[in-house]
């Protein structure tokens, strides 16, 4: 699988340019198809539509795709029922866990996040879920992405946030999905523009400005049912290219401390995705909502090693990301949150793994966080009828706090109602937290 083929287009660019495109000299129609990108896009200020939404805080959502085992992320250290339910997994996890307090420890491969916890920069919300949980990946992902357990909504919760609060069409880098080729469901909204940037080095049209012009001409204003989709796609391409060029050109202006080593892990694509996210943030592109994904959490079998590896990838990537932001004095503005469609069953199966479960733990990380434990500890003695953990915190409470306190948006508008407050953020200076009744 060729995941690092950045070179493929460069190999042949010279060939192609030598046999380059030729258009007639009277190509004014072509020029019109290529919108000149005004300087506004290069500015670090984004256009906020709503009064009061004038902070420059940034949210980074890290999707742990497949169903992250909360009991192996935040490990109960003193619960004999854990050993009853999953003797093999518990015997391996509990002694190796990194204790946060007497009752819970982090997965053994998370020393970086543990260090952040010790600095008060990690909030752990336990028992996060929703009523009548679905055990289907697709349905539960959709619930988390739309903020709707009844699965009637189509738009993503952050997509709605974009539509209501930001001019994403005018500023297409407001929301970015990094390290992927798809728009994440959480960011989707019919009226929202989202940039999808797989790799900043190869981001753009090979073949130069003539190809850019021609593409702009042919893809605009097409007839048929996909006309609007194509219009949006090509506009977004053009604007994103301009903005990423600006962002990348501004990098390298910060001097690192002499003994500082900033290393993003290379074994996982999450490292590259967060590095790209950091460069978009620190170069003032105006990005506000970022989404990255770490896959592989559907550990029905041989969970022990695989889940430990994944925890390590998460830890190394987030640690490097935090360090990168700190070096650029941007760490105060950025909140990182993990999410996963469900947890795993407390009881292990015969394949060394666990099947789909329910309530989970969410990690909120960064300087804006008021560190500590929130929600209720999972009660392994009171599982529900399907043998799964019962939720105690509705995930929309977590979204509410992010929206109201970190982004300065109106959570009730976006989520449809108010939820119990989970106050895991320090109130940001200059932003009035929306009143929650």
């Amino acid at each position: 699988m060729s995941k690092d083929k950045a070179g493929i287009n460069e190999l042949n660019r010279r060939d192609f340019l030598q046999a380059g495109l030729r258009f007639g000299t009277a190509a004014s129609a072509l020029a019109a198809g290529y919108a000149a990108v005004p300087d506004a896009f290069a500015r670090a200020v984004y256009a906020a539509k709503q009064a009061g939404v004038n902070n420059d805080n940034v949210l980074v959502m890290i999707q742990l795709a497949g169903g992250n085992d909360g009991l192996r992320t935040v490990v109960p250290l003193q619960d004999p029922k854990l050993h009853d339910l999953r003797p093999i997994l518990a015997a391996a996890s509990v002694p190796a866990a990194l204790p946060l307090n007497g009752a819970f420890g982090l997965n053994q491969n998370m020393p970086g996040i543990k260090a952040l916890y010790d600095q008060g920069k990690v909030a752990i919300v336990q028992g996060v879920g929703y009523p009548n949980p679905s055990f289907s990946h697709f349905e539960s992902i959709r619930v988390w992405e739309t903020g709707d357990p009844t699965r009637r909504q189509v738009e993503g919760w952050l997509g709605k946030t974009l539509t209501q609060n930001y001019d994403s069409m005018g500023h297409p880098l407001t929301a970015c999905a990094c390290g992927t080729t798809d728009i994440p469901g959480a960011l989707r909204d019919m009226h929202a523009t989202v940039s999808v940037i797989d790799d900043s080095r190869t981001f753009g049209f090979q073949g130069g400005s003539k190809v850019e012009s021609a593409a702009g001409t042919v893809w605009k204003g097409t007839p048929g049912i996909y006309g609007a989709l194509f219009d949006t796609a090509i506009s977004t391409v053009q604007q994103s290219i301009a903005s990423v060029r600006t962002a990348v050109s501004r990098q390298g202006n910060v001097k690192y401390q002499d003994n500082a080593k900033l290393v993003y892990p290379s074994k996982t694509e999450l490292g590259a995705a967060l590095q790209l996210a950091a460069s978009l943030i620190t170069s003032g592109s105006g990005v506000k909502l970022l989404h990255v994904t770490l896959g592989g959490f559907d550990t029905h079998q041989t969970e022990l090693q695989r889940h430990n590896d994944l925890m390590g990838y998460l830890d190394q990537s987030v640690s490097a990301f935090y360090q990168d932001l700190s070096m650029h004095n941007m760490a105060d503005k950025v909140l990182v949150a993990t999410w996963s469609e469900f947890s795993r069953r407390p009881q292990e199966n015969a394949s060394g793994g666990t099947d789909h479960g329910a309530a989970s733990a969410m990690l909120l990380m960064g300087n804006p966080v008021k560190g500590g434990f929130y929600g209720q500890a999972p009660n392994l003695g009171n599982l529900d009828g399907t043998g799964n953990l019962r939720y105690t915190v509705d995930f929309r409470s977590v979204y509410q706090e992010i929206l109201n306190t970190h982004l300065g948006a109106d959570a009730k508008e976006i989520l449809g109602q108010t939820f119990d407050r989970v106050p895991f953020l320090k109130a940001a200076a200059g932003v009035a937290a929306a009143a929650v009744t």
Binding site: S2, R22, K220, I225
Partner: protein, 430 residues
């Protein structure tokens, strides 16, 4: 609250643009071209001429009835039988380009995206994904009953959805759930109890060893469930794998689910419920025979009515293979492998067990750029190009939007004309 969102610019653009493509589908030749575009990877002028001679009805027969041509063996199998994913991907693309039965490849690709497995989990030490590709091709136009047994006992599938480690004492629910939710009945047509009962009923299969000399799973009674009667999809009794499949075949939801997927893939993104029902009733009555279904789809009025024209978007593999076919450049199959990730589709590596998206799911700013860049790459590697008198007519039915018309008129040489045509939205649509 929601201030005007750049609406004026969009409204002006809408007013200036024609509402729909001018469908050419009243002409039989255009219908045949449309059929071949939808059912193969496009046709050369010679192939089109031969198809016109046959006529639409006989062309459908030919597509549906001709037995799938088997691919040659995979080059470079490692000792012990494993093969790299890149090699496997290129091998399949080579076959798509060379095969005399491209419809069989389209059907294999369809099932590949439906009965999914991926290389990350299945691994490449054993040739399971290679075997799966051969099996899916052989079974592509048979009936669902025999297909479901082959899918269940396919070694790659058994690894991917954990059936290979599921035992009666500790049943693994993964395959049971996805079999019903994604492969057959759809959400809402089974219960969590059915998932658990199904897991017990299906348990007992293991992967073949070299001693078994078999390309399918092996059932061992001692690994199976022995706990008495089960209740599955409303049936109670001693239920085994065949019992699970029989119960699924008896569910009315099966035909509707599969037909809906086929129609979304081959006909339209928004079919009418009556159309689905008509096809589903016939499909069910035919005991889920795929040839009957595909023939009915291609002969249905809905397939060739004007709203159907350009209502689907070519998936990345279809798009790229069509580009290479149009350029007569099968030697560049590796470019398809290299470009797959940026376009959102890598063979043997779907994003998840649900397979790949359809239609609008394929087009985002990134993937649009990737399609244009793919054409740049391919053209950059070709010293000479096929000369064509009227590219817009041959490749795009002569039905061009104003942007493509402008760019094509401005083009000064064949290379530029090929670039415009192949990277155009008209070529990406089908």
């Amino acid at each position: 609250m929601t201030a005007s969102r750049a609406a004026p610019k969009a409204a002006a653009a809408t007013a200036a643009r024609a509402a729909d493509w001018t469908s050419p589908l009243t002409a039989e030749t255009a219908r045949i071209t449309h059929l071949l575009r939808r059912a193969t990877f496009g046709a050369s002028p010679d192939e089109l001429e031969a198809a016109f001679q046959l006529g639409y009805g006989k062309m459908v027969d030919k597509l549906v009835e001709t037995a799938p041509a088997a691919p040659p063996a995979v080059p470079g199998m490692k000792g012990g039988g494993g093969v790299d994913v890149d090699t496997l991907q290129q091998w399949w693309i080579d076959h798509m380009l060379a095969t005399p039965t491209p419809f069989a490849e389209r059907m294999t690709l369809f099932w590949h995206g439906h009965f999914t497995s991926d290389s990350t989990k299945v691994g490449t030490d054993r040739p399971y994904l290679y075997w799966q590709n051969l099996t899916w091709r052989k079974m592509a136009l048979t009936d669902l009953g025999s297909m479901l047994m082959q899918v269940t006992t396919d070694p790659a599938m058994m690894v991917y959805l954990d059936l290979s480690t599921s035992t009666g004492k500790s049943p693994n629910e993964n395959y049971s759930r996805e079999l019903m939710e994604l492969f057959t009945l759809g959400a809402g047509n089974f219960t969590e109890d059915d998932v658990r009962a199904g897991a017990k009923a299906l348990a007992g299969w293991r992967l073949p060893t070299t001693a078994d000399k078999s390309m399918t799973g092996v059932f061992e009674k001692r690994r199976a469930y022995s706990g008495g009667p089960l209740t599955f999809l409303g049936r109670t009794g001693q239920i085994d794998t065949k019992g699970v499949i029989d119960a699924i075949l008896a569910s009315p939801a099966l035909a509707t689910q599969v037909v809906t997927k086929v129609v979304h893939h081959f006909v339209s993104p928004s079919p009418e419920a009556r159309y689905i029902q008509r096809l589903a009733d016939e499909f069910r009555a035919s005991k889920y025979d795929m040839k009957t279904l595909m023939r009915s789809v291609f002969l249905s009025p809905e397939f060739i009515q004007d709203p159907s024209y350009r209502s689907l978007i070519k998936s990345p593999v279809e798009y790229m293979v069509s580009v290479l076919k149009a350029l007569k450049a099968p030697q560049l199959s590796k470019t398809v492998v290299d470009a797959g990730q940026n376009m959102g589709q890598m063979l043997f590596d779907p994003p998840d067990v649900g397979g790949w998206p359809n239609n609008d799911g394929w087009i985002s700013s990134n993937t649009l750029m990737a399609r244009v860049n793919f054409v740049s790459t391919v053209l950059g590697r070709m010293r000479s190009l096929p000369t064509v008198k009227d590219l817009g007519q041959l490749q795009l039915d002569g039905v061009l939007g104003s942007g493509t018309t402008t760019a094509l008129n401005q083009a000064k040489d064949d290379r530029t004309r090929w670039m415009v045509v192949l990277m155009s939205p008209e070529f990406t649509l089908k």
